[in-house]
């Protein structure tokens, strides 16, 4: 440790670079040379880099602990490393330069994330080495997986929002690539694209959040944002985000009807928080952007475990925890987060109730659990929300891997992807796959909140906090003193959130037990178990001949337990799922994790607590409120037991039949995808079609084709004249000469009046053989009877008066022409003569 401290000072902690670079190295090596290396070498490479990364992360974490210990209790410590100066951008009041460095840091919060990512990542790599063993694109898989870990590490270790964004988009890319891993099937590729685009909608929010934060706080790194976060709340009008009129303008003239009596503004804190939260809903699959996650199950199951359960999808929660000091400035945004989280938890749970695909159940369960996490952070219980991230990583990864293990063994004889994941084809696997069963059961117990398991502690704390901690504006009193009203959270929100949470938890208990019972209990329904009739070696790489038959005709060997590479991770994760809760056992006042994370959330918790007046008064409610969670667990699992074990699934069928429409609606996931397809996507597509049509029809038509047509029409007319016939052209020439002749014969009397500092000169236009005579005094008679050659006439006019000047022209043919002109400017009434020009 001393060596470490001397090698890597706290501000140049290069080990972080190594932690990130190791998986990247694996990705590059496996990606470029994977095919030549062969499977064993690819496995070795991928596992080595992950193992080393985990070790390095562990060492870093221990070092961090020591540093934190030295710094004293409750101090926020950080080990940082700057790779290089990346670029810079503008922000702040004076639009100064904000340097954006490629800088990484680890503190109490990201330290835990780092451990989870590398640790669980290593286990899942190990699992995959067996799970994917027969896949043709083995090396590509590990390259992607390693790249994912790199991106995820960049996400949590990034020291500013932009570096975080590299990881944020990087995990999105890897997720896209891994969901569409088997791109030969168009649905998989489409699911990948859907995920990427849904994430991009979120990223749109994140970008807006970034520039708002850059603009108001003048910083993008965590320290800088924390330092200037209060700028987001400055009460002056300029510091508010003007929604209507857009940007704070004024609608005038014709548009004045759009001008509201009071401009609609929100604080920059609310705007930035909501924008960032939009990013979180994309990445962490919350309403309304959750739709990609269930589809993402098209990817290989280890991917679902790592990316779509344990790590990537929790990035949103991490972001909110990371920027907690921004979010607490806006009670409105906090309430939105909590409400969205609670509704997502409930909504996804309803869908999970009836799904038959085991991965779909787990996917909706993930969405639901993520909802719980957002409920937690939304009510200001950052520790609780983050704790749920931690425990969820264990039990959900374990559940997915367990499901993968089951699917793996089912797939040995059912080669259809859908059928091999259908729980109706499973059952009774308990006796064939004991390890998988045990770990799956333990994780199920954890997720449904069986008392004293990890899920119990994390979920109960969220529910408790939801009931007791209202989001209060940290500066409500100060602002009220200045006569500025702030948004107040209605008092009914807390209890409602609690009730929704309890209902969702009950559903969780029900559907998870249902999945457990359908898969592992009862009779095996997959195929007839017995000696295989044909000893055709049925490997995985001969699926190419359209083997889509549901199950085998005739008996086949019983499903078998998976090899150790797959069961070992299950056991480790199940262990974590069972005992991980004791890291933060709030009801027993044993909270090492809470104390560890306290410095991270200190600022915001203090802000909140000051106003609420401490949450100590609510402490006596902890056990009574825990009753709700325990009841949810008991009721949900009891109903499931009664339905699927005691009654062998009969009641479920009956309920489904008596409520056919509702059941179908739930099976179809509330038809949200269809709804989005018809509304958002439909509108966008229609707009796009209109744009494309306008582009071709109107813009191009008007500017290019219409112009061309005009020229062509002119050409057509002119071409008709240019026939090349001698007599026609001769006639045209005669006409032309006649025209010119007439022009020369007719006299043209034209004058121009020039004025130079009050004196006027009238100048007649020249012509061949012209003679002129003038009427300069305006008496109607020409000054002389004879025509002379005076072409320029000086006229004196009194100021404010005008004079009529007449000119007659005679040309050599003796023809005359005449014209008259008014010289001088008439004085306007009331206007002073002086200065009138």
């Amino acid at each position: 440790m001393h060596l470490l401290a001397s090698l890597f000072p706290n501000d140049r902690f290069g080990l972080l670079g190594l932690i990130i670079a190791l998986p990247l190295l694996g990705a590059i090596v496996n990606g470029i040379w994977g095919r030549r290396l062969g499977r064993q070498a690819v496995t070795a490479m991928a596992l080595t880099v992950m193992g080393l990364a985990f070790s390095a992360a562990l060492v870093t974490f221990l070092h961090l602990r020591e540093v934190a210990h030295e710094a004293g209790h409750g101090s926020h410590v950080r080990l940082a490393w700057t790779a290089w100066e990346w670029f810079h951008t503008a922000g702040g009041r004076s639009a100064h330069n904000i340097p954006i460095d490629l800088r990484f840091s680890v503190d109490q919060l990201s330290g835990i994330m780092m451990l989870v990512i590398t640790g669980i990542g290593f286990l899942i790599h190990l699992y995959s080495s067996s799970y994917m063993a027969d896949d043709a694109s083995f090396s590509r898989f590990f390259a992607y997986l390693n790249l994912f870990v790199t991106s995820m590490l960049i996400l949590v270790l990034g020291d500013n929002l932009v570096v975080l964004f590299i990881g944020w988009e990087g995990v999105g890319l890897c997720s896209y690539l891994l969901i569409g891993f088997w791109f030969g099937k168009l649905e998989n590729a489409a699911a990948g694209r859907k995920a990427f685009i849904a994430n991009r909608i979120g990223d749109f929010g994140l970008i807006i959040g970034m520039f708002l934060i850059a603009q108001y706080t003048g910083a993008l790194d965590w320290d800088g944002i924390a330092r200037n976060a209060q700028q987001l709340l400055a009460p002056s009008a300029a510091a508010r985000v003007h929604l209507w009129p857009v940007g704070g303008g004024v609608y005038q003239g014709f548009w004045s009807f759009l001008q509201p009596a009071h401009p609609l503004t929100i604080s920059a804190a609310t705007a930035a928080s909501l924008a960032l939260f939009l990013g979180c809903t994309g990445k962490s699959a919350q309403l309304p952007l959750y739709v990609w996650l269930p589809d993402a199950m098209a990817g290989p199951t280890p991917v679902s475990a790592l990316i779509h359960a344990a790590t990537m999808v929790t990035a949103g929660v991490y972001l909110i925890c990371r920027l907690n000091f921004v979010f607490v400035l806006s009670p409105f945004a906090m309430t939105v987060i909590a409400v969205v989280g609670a509704l997502t938890a409930l909504f996804a749970a309803t869908i999970a109730l009836v799904q038959n695909d085991v991965k779909k159940v787990l996917a909706y369960s993930t969405v639901s659990q993520l909802g719980f996490m957002f409920l937690g952070v939304g009510v200001g219980a950052f520790t609780a929300g983050f704790f749920h991230v931690f425990t969820h990583a264990f039990f959900k990864a374990c559940l997915f891997l367990g499901a993968g293990s089951v699917i793996h063994s089912m797939h040995a004889h059912i080669h259809d992807d859908v059928a091999s994941q259908d729980m109706r084809n499973m059952g009774g696997l308990k006796k064939y796959m004991p390890v998988t069963f045990a770990t799956f059961a333990v994780s199920t117990l954890a997720i449904i909140g069986t008392p004293l398991t990890s899920g119990f502690f994390s979920k109960d704390e969220i529910l408790f906090k939801a009931f007791t901690s209202p989001a209060v504006h940290p500066f409500a009193e100060k602002l009220a003193q200045r006569g500025l009203g702030v948004w107040k959270q209605p008092t009914w929100i807390g209890p409602t959130l609690y009730v929704i949470g309890v209902i969702a938890a009950t559903m969780t208990a029900f559907y998870m037990c249902r999945a457990l019972f359908l898969t592992f209990f009862g009779e095996f329904k997959g195929w007839e178990i017995g000696e295989a009739k044909h000893d055709h070696a049925h490997g995985h790489d001969d699926h190419g001949h359209g083997h889509d038959d549901h199950g085998h005709h005739g008996p086949a060997p019983a499903p078998h337990e998976s090899p150790w590479q797959m069961t070992l991770p299950l056991v480790v994760l199940a262990f974590g799922a069972l005992f991980g809760g004791w890291l933060n056992a709030a009801p027993f006042h044993f909270e090492p994790l809470g104390e560890w994370l306290e410095p991270v959330f200190e600022r915001s918790v203090k802000l909140g607590v000051e106003v609420v007046g401490g949450e100590e008064h609510a402490h006596h409610l902890m056990w009574p409120l825990a009753g709700g969670g325990i009841a949810a667990f008991a009721v949900g699992s009891a109903i499931a037991y009664w339905m699927y074990i005691a009654q062998k699934g009969e009641p479920a069928k009956k309920i489904a039949e008596s409520n056919k429409a509702l059941h179908q609606l739930l099976l179809d996931k509330w038809r949200v995808d269809e709804f989005y397809g018809a509304t958002v996507l439909g509108v966008t597509e229609a707009t796009a079609e209109t744009c494309a049509a306008v582009d071709q029809g109107i813009v191009d038509g008007l500017l290019a084709r219409a112009t061309a047509a005009t020229v062509a029409a002119g050409g057509f007319v002119l071409r008709a004249m240019h026939t090349g016939l001698f007599h026609v052209q001769g006639a045209a020439m005669v006409l032309g000469i006649a025209g010119f002749g007439w022009f020369f014969i007719a006299p043209h009397a034209d004058v121009a009046v020039n004025e130079l500092s009050g004196t006027y000169t009238v100048q007649a236009a020249p012509g061949i053989g012209y003679a002129y005579r003038w009427d300069a005094d305006g008496d109607g008679k020409f000054d002389s009877d004879r025509f002379g050659d005076q072409r320029v006439l000086a006229v004196s006019v009194e100021q404010g008066k005008t004079k009529q000047v007449r000119l007659e022209v005679k040309n050599v043919f003796g023809l005359t022409g005449t014209t008259s002109v008014t010289v001088g400017t008439e004085a306007k009434k009331g206007a002073t003569v002086v200065g009138l020009r």
Binding site: N97, W182, D203, G249, H543
Partner: protein, 629 residues
């Protein structure tokens, strides 16, 4: 596990194909590199490692290709090491001697080469190809000394000779931070495009290389010309070869596209010519003798009424060139019909002349009018460029047309950045010009690869290409990600700087926020259209028999794409290498505009007779004109 594993079933399970000799060779090579680095220049170490990496990475190709890619990788690494900010400050002790003829060589080499080509035998294809590439590589090499010069805020390599003195027309070329990377981008991408084109152009080769060389001369000239007359000459000079390239070697509807391209551009440039003549005349009225020199004309302050019209003439010309809504429709046609190299150069370099023109001439000569109308142009850039073009793009069924529309969207960011008039916005805009050259150049190259194999560009004709051409797919996805602005690739930096710069803009007034939001929305649309196209072309099962067994990228193509991919990442990860030479010039531009606006504030601006200001401090010293009278 998968029912789809028939794709890429070529892997030899368990094969450990990297044997002891490989490892020994690598070790030896590393040792040699390290020794070389220790004794000569430490920069050789990363360069050598990168070279080795490049050599090893394309293991599926023959030795020549591997060595070439290795060399490209080594050069890129060398570039990064040498340009690294700390490295520059360390070696920045002695001032670099700037040769005044440097830029003239850059113009003269390809121009002279083009004329020289006329005397070469038409049938000797090998000779023509090698000579052309030789000239272009020489030009590129001649442009490398530019890298050694710290740009700062001033002008460099200034050369100012009398040309037609009685009209004040001079041959004046110089380089500043704005044109710096654009010139290098030109000398970099022209040989690349030419090299790639030799794989698909086999007819009228002599005419082809003549056009390419002439085009290069024209483009470089237009970027460095600081005499407006000279600029106009180059501006028109590059128009003709491109017109010929589209019209002769283009697709089925090439003549129409070529004429459309020519007429559109010509329409704008004739107006610009009129404005240039008026400017020179107006300068002559005030100063006594007309001048076409940029720094002279910059001193001229015209009344608002005049300025707006002159500005409009310039702006329309550039608007067409960029191109921006509503005068963008020539671009999809031109791109679709143009041969691959033509599309690459059109997108990578020629379009930048429009945005460069805004930055140099509109903002430099008519700052008041530019600011007055800049808000509107920014709105056009967001609505008509970023959003509208993206939506149009989504509906395209032709892959090349789709990429063409993406150019409109990307240049929308550039326009927005320029008119945001913030340091980050303008810098981001200049960087985005370079970025777009790399990523869109790569995309056009890749579309050309597919076209050469299938002679179709319709999305519907493809599907499942990923299983047939895996290397190609990887390259295409990298280029796509750069195009949609994934952080870590070049596209992100430019877009992000433009968006934040726009949000912080004071010149855009209260529209700044909503325009930044609109620009951010373009990020979503970008992903939507590019990924839809990628999915249609690459994923899913192979449905068309013609697509089975398509050969993957050949040596020529892989060598062509390698530097572009390298720069996609270099620009994305170390943009400071580029920004450090851009920022001085952008600071100067913004300061100049602000000073002019402070002197004659909006909305009235300057009234009365035109007046002359002092020469800008950064302007190169005015030439000593021999008095003839």
């Amino acid at each position: 596990m998968s029912a789809h594993s028939e794709v890429q079933a070529t892997e030899r399970p368990g094969a450990f194909d990297i044997g002891l000799p490989d490892i020994l060779f690598t070790a030896l090579a590393v040792a040699v590199i390290a020794a070389l680095g220790a004794y000569t220049d430490p920069a050789w170490v990363p360069a050598g490692i990168a070279g080795l990496f490049g050599f090893a990475a394309v293991h599926a190709y023959d030795k020549t290709t591997r060595i070439s890619v290795g060399a490209i990788a080594a050069l890129c690494a060398l570039f990064v090491v040498k340009m690294w900010p700390t490295a520059v400050s360390l070696t920045g002790g002695e001032p670099v001697v700037e040769s005044p003829t440097q830029l003239s060589w850059l113009i003269g080499l390809p121009l002279g080469g083009a004329i020289f080509m006329l005397f070469m035998p038409r049938q000797a294809h090998g000779l023509l190809k090698n000579l052309t590439l030789g000239i272009m590589v020489l030009t590129f090499a001649a442009s490398l000394p530019l890298l050694g010069v710290a740009m700062g805020s001033g002008y460099h390599f200034d050369q100012n000779l009398a040309w037609i003195p009685q009209f004040g027309i001079r041959y004046h070329v110089a380089l500043d931070g704005v044109s710096y990377w654009l010139v290098l981008l030109t000398t970099f991408s022209v040989p690349l495009a030419t090299f790639v084109s030799f794989g698909s152009i086999h007819t009228r080769l002599k005419d082809w290389v003549f056009s390419l060389l002439l085009l290069e001369a024209g483009m470089i000239g237009a970027f460095v010309a600081l005499d407006l007359f000279l600029f106009y000459v180059f501006w028109e000079l590059m128009l003709i070869p491109m017109y010929v390239m589209i019209g002769v070697w283009g697709g089925s509807d090439r003549v129409k596209a070529a004429v459309k391209f020519f007429l559109y551009t010509m329409f704008g440039s004739v107006l610009m010519l009129a404005a240039i003549l008026y400017l020179a005349y107006a300068y002559g009225k005030v100063a006594g003798a007309p001048s076409f020199d940029y720094f002279d004309l910059q001193r001229l302050v015209l009344p608002r009424s005049t300025q707006v019209w002159l500005w409009a003439a310039f702006a329309l010309s550039f608007l067409i060139k960029v191109p921006m809504w509503p005068v963008h429709t020539w671009l999809p046609d031109a791109h679709t019909e143009a041969p691959t190299a033509g599309s690459m150069l059109l997108a990578a370099v020629m379009l930048k002349l429009g945005t460069y023109g805004y930055l140099r001439f509109c903002l430099g000569l008519f700052p008041e009018a530019s600011i007055e109308w800049g808000i509107n142009l920014a709105a056009v850039a967001v609505c008509g460029g970023i959003l509208y073009a993206a939506l149009c793009e989504w509906q395209q069924t032709d892959l090349k047309r789709l990429v063409a529309y993406s150019s409109v969207a990307h240049l929308g960011y550039v326009m927005l950045g320029i008119f945001s008039m913030t340091q980050a916005g303008v810098e981001g805009a200049v960087l985005q010009m370079v970025n777009h050259g790399m990523s869109t150049g790569a995309l056009f190259l890749l579309v050309g690869v597919l076209y050469d194999r299938r002679h179709t560009r319709q999305l519907a004709d493809f599907g499942g290409i990923a299983s047939q051409m895996p290397i190609y797919t990887v390259m295409f996805i990298i280029a796509t990600m750069a195009s949609v602005g994934l952080p870590g690739t070049n596209g992100f930096i430019g877009e992000f700087m433009v968006i934040t710069g726009t949000a912080a803009s004071l010149r855009l007034g209260h529209f700044a926020g909503i325009q930044a939001v609109g620009a951010a929305l373009g990020v979503v649309l970008g992903a939507l259209y590019m990924l839809t196209a990628v999915q249609k072309v690459f994923f899913g099962p192979v449905t068309k028999k013609e697509n089975e067994g398509l050969p993957d990228m050949n040596s020529r193509e892989i060598i062509g794409i390698a530097p572009l991919v390298a720069f996609i990442f270099i620009l994305g990860l170390a943009p400071n290498l580029f920004l450090q030479s851009i920022s001085g010039a952008t600071t100067r531009i913004i300061r100049d505009v602000n000073e002019r606006l402070d002197a004659s504030p909006p909305p009235e601006f300057h009234r009365g007779v035109p007046k002359l200001l002092n020469r800008r401090p950064e302007a190169p010293a005015a030439p000593v004109v021999a008095e003839t009278k």
